[in-house]
């Protein structure tokens, strides 16, 4: 067990270094922008001298490297600047939208994991049978549907045609949302409002289903192919000779070994899925990080774009680090290293 900690520590260190490079990269890309943030944060009738003074105040007349250092120092102190468009602190804006996005991503991951593992077992189960080409073709069709097409399709089907579920926002108008932790599902429960909890959950069904279903096929296919690999091993043959049922062999012997690469892939997928929340949020007018980002992009609101871009990277890097650590802990073969 002692050898695990240095491995994890190393991984965390690498992530921190990557984060610094990413932030510098982000900073440089956004300085390519043809708009002047100083001019944008002033009223249109500001004089050139006022703009110049503002440029100086914002540090825009300094060399790029100095500008980056100033920004990075502020960020490390938790100061992400002020939004040009909303005229509010960026840290506050992120704080109020990030929980919503995390809730959506977690629910979607549960959907993706459940459908992915069930689908993978099914794909494996039908191998060699007449159903195989159909199931296989089905999985390619599913792979071709990105989350935002699922999102729109669900709106058309369950929202507009069948009128079964809501597809805009998080709560039906009239509910006063309690704010304790910022996570709406948790807050409604803490406030003792099961009716509001159900309402919020209803609003999340379509977005999380759309996002989850788009990421399930990859999980399905990896689980199927790692099950196929595992079945080449001698111990499966031996289990058969010992007279275990096929069901017992699959669930007790094969799945245990095949699930590891699948879990590792699910970690990587979770990173992608977190990026996928952006489009789903826009489509479902869901007030999370993605909508904040798209609003900022449309208004060329640099402080928000920088900070939200960085937030996405922090979340993805954190997920990857946790997954790597979990992989080391779960996989006994890696412990000796």
């Amino acid at each position: 067990m002692t050898s695990i900690l240095p491995l994890i520590a190393r991984r965390v260190l690498v992530s921190v270094v990557i984060l610094f490079i990413v932030s510098a990269l982000l900073f440089c890309i956004l300085r390519l922008l043809p708009v002047d943030p100083a001019a944008m944060s002033l009223p249109p009738n500001a004089t050139l001298a006022e703009i110049e003074a503002k440029r100086h105040e914002m540090g825009l007349d300094q060399p790029l490297f100095r500008q980056y250092l100033i920004w990075a120092t502020q960020v490390l102190h938790g100061d992400f600047g002020t939004s040009i468009h909303f005229r509010r602190g960026v840290a506050g804006l992120i704080g109020s939208t990030l929980p919503a996005t995390i809730e959506l991503a977690l629910l979607a991951m549960i959907v993706a994991g459940t459908l992915g593992i069930a689908g993978g077992l099914y794909l494996f189960h039908v191998r060699g049978s007449a159903m195989e080409p159909i199931a296989d073709a089905g999985s390619i069709v599913l792979l071709s549907l990105p989350e935002f097409l699922w999102g729109l399709f669900f709106i058309l089907l369950f929202g507009v045609a069948l009128e079964l579920l809501p597809f805009t926002g998080r709560l039906t108008a009239g509910f006063q949302r309690p704010v304790v932790t910022g996570f709406l599902l948790l807050d409604t429960l803490l406030a003792g409002r099961p009716d509001m909890f159900l309402n919020a959950l209803k609003h999340m069904i379509l977005p999380s289903l759309a996002l989850g279903i788009a990421f399930a096929p990859t999980i399905m296919r990896v689980l199927r192919s790692s099950l196929l690999d595992v079945y080449q091993e001698d111990y499966i043959h031996q289990a058969r000779l010992r007279g275990f049922s096929e069901r017992h062999i699959l669930l007790r012997h094969a799945l245990k070994n095949a699930i590891l690469p699948t879990l590792s892939l699910m970690g990587v997928q979770f990173g992608f899925l977190f990026g996928g929340t952006l489009l789903i949020e826009v489509i479902y007018s869901y007030p999370g990080l993605g909508n904040l980002m798209v609003d900022a992009v449309r208004n060329a609101d640099l402080p928000i774009i920088q900070a939200v871009g960085l937030t996405y990277c922090v979340v993805v890097l954190t997920i990857n680090t946790v997954v790597d650590a979990a992989y080391v802990i779960l996989n006994p073969k890696l412990r000796i290293a």
Partner: protein, 285 residues
């Protein structure tokens, strides 16, 4: 033995290729195929349903949008943007990714380390976020959409190809080529590249599908080509606003994107199965 090469005998390849060729032809001949100018507004007949539905008109076979523009014509012209981006961007990404992958896998050492870490940094950005940020920096327009996709997606090629190059480089015939006195350049282009080409072709085909999706996403949020150029993502954004006035307008662009991406994916899957000689029988099944 049939005269056709093996890859053309695969049903998947034929299906995928047909879809892709068909949509390319539609894009190419858009001015002759489209019944209207895609930007022509007929404000007296907005939100017309397709011709087979009640209230539809034969002049607008798939109906009209919120400004009375012909949906069919916009779909046909939208194919131009989608296919241009798909082809140019994926070849661009392939070239950068493949060159770096071959350098990294062949030479190894510090250069492999450097390229590998660069890919790591790139991959820590969710692709959609990175392309959005790039579009903010670069500004909208077709050229910049392509550039943004190339800059985001080269890593897909680089990561997968590098490990393939690594395997091929260790083969005996590569060592033999070096012993005969082939230069590094000649060894890579004559000995290694032919072995990695099947994977390369497959990846390009899959990347084209991804590029179509990314372009649709960017034009959906209004960060792709300008407002005067019809694009599928734009049509979706417009239809999402008026979903109760005309759900049809949402259905058609979704279908087009789906069919195009399906075509590329089935083609890629078929090529993978037929071109990759190292696939074991179980994986091929």
């Amino acid at each position: 033995m049939s005269a056709r090469p093996a890859w053309l005998r695969s049903g998947r390849v034929v299906f995928g290729l047909s879809v892709v060729v068909l949509i390319s032809l539609v894009a190419l001949f858009a001015p002759w195929l489209a019944p209207h100018d895609p930007n022509e507004q007929t404000l007296l007949s907005t939100f017309l349903p397709p011709f087979w539905a009640k209230g539809g008109e034969a002049a607008f076979p798939l109906g009209t949008d919120s400004l009375g523009r012909c949906t069919l014509s916009r779909l046909i012209y939208g194919a131009r943007i989608a296919m241009t981006v798909a082809i140019v961007a994926s070849f661009g990404a392939m070239i950068i990714g493949a060159v770096l992958a071959h350098i990294a896998g062949y030479f190894g050492g510090w250069i492999d380390w450097l390229i590998g870490r660069t890919v790591d940094v790139w991959m820590s950005f969710p692709p959609v976020i990175l392309s959005l940020i790039l579009m903010v920096g670069l500004g909208t327009g077709l050229r910049n959409v392509i550039l943004a996709i190339v800059l985001v997606d080269w890593t897909r090629f680089c990561r997968v190809l590098r490990s393939e190059v690594l395997v091929v480089t260790r083969r005996d015939y590569v060592a033999a080529a070096r012993l005969i006195g082939f230069s590094h350049w000649r060894t890579i282009t004559r000995e290694i590249l032919p072995a990695t080409t099947p994977l390369l072709i497959t990846l390009v085909s899959l990347e084209m599908g991804i590029a179509v999706i990314v372009e649709a996403i960017l034009s959906f949020v209004g960060m792709s080509v300008g407002a005067t150029t019809p694009a599928w993502g734009q049509m979706i954004a417009d239809a999402r606003q008026y979903i109760y006035d005309s759900p049809w307008n949402l259905v058609f662009p979704i279908l087009m994107i789906f069919i195009t991406v399906l075509g590329f994916n089935v083609l890629g899957d078929g090529l993978r199965r037929t071109l990759d000689v190292r696939l074991t029988e179980t994986q091929r099944a």
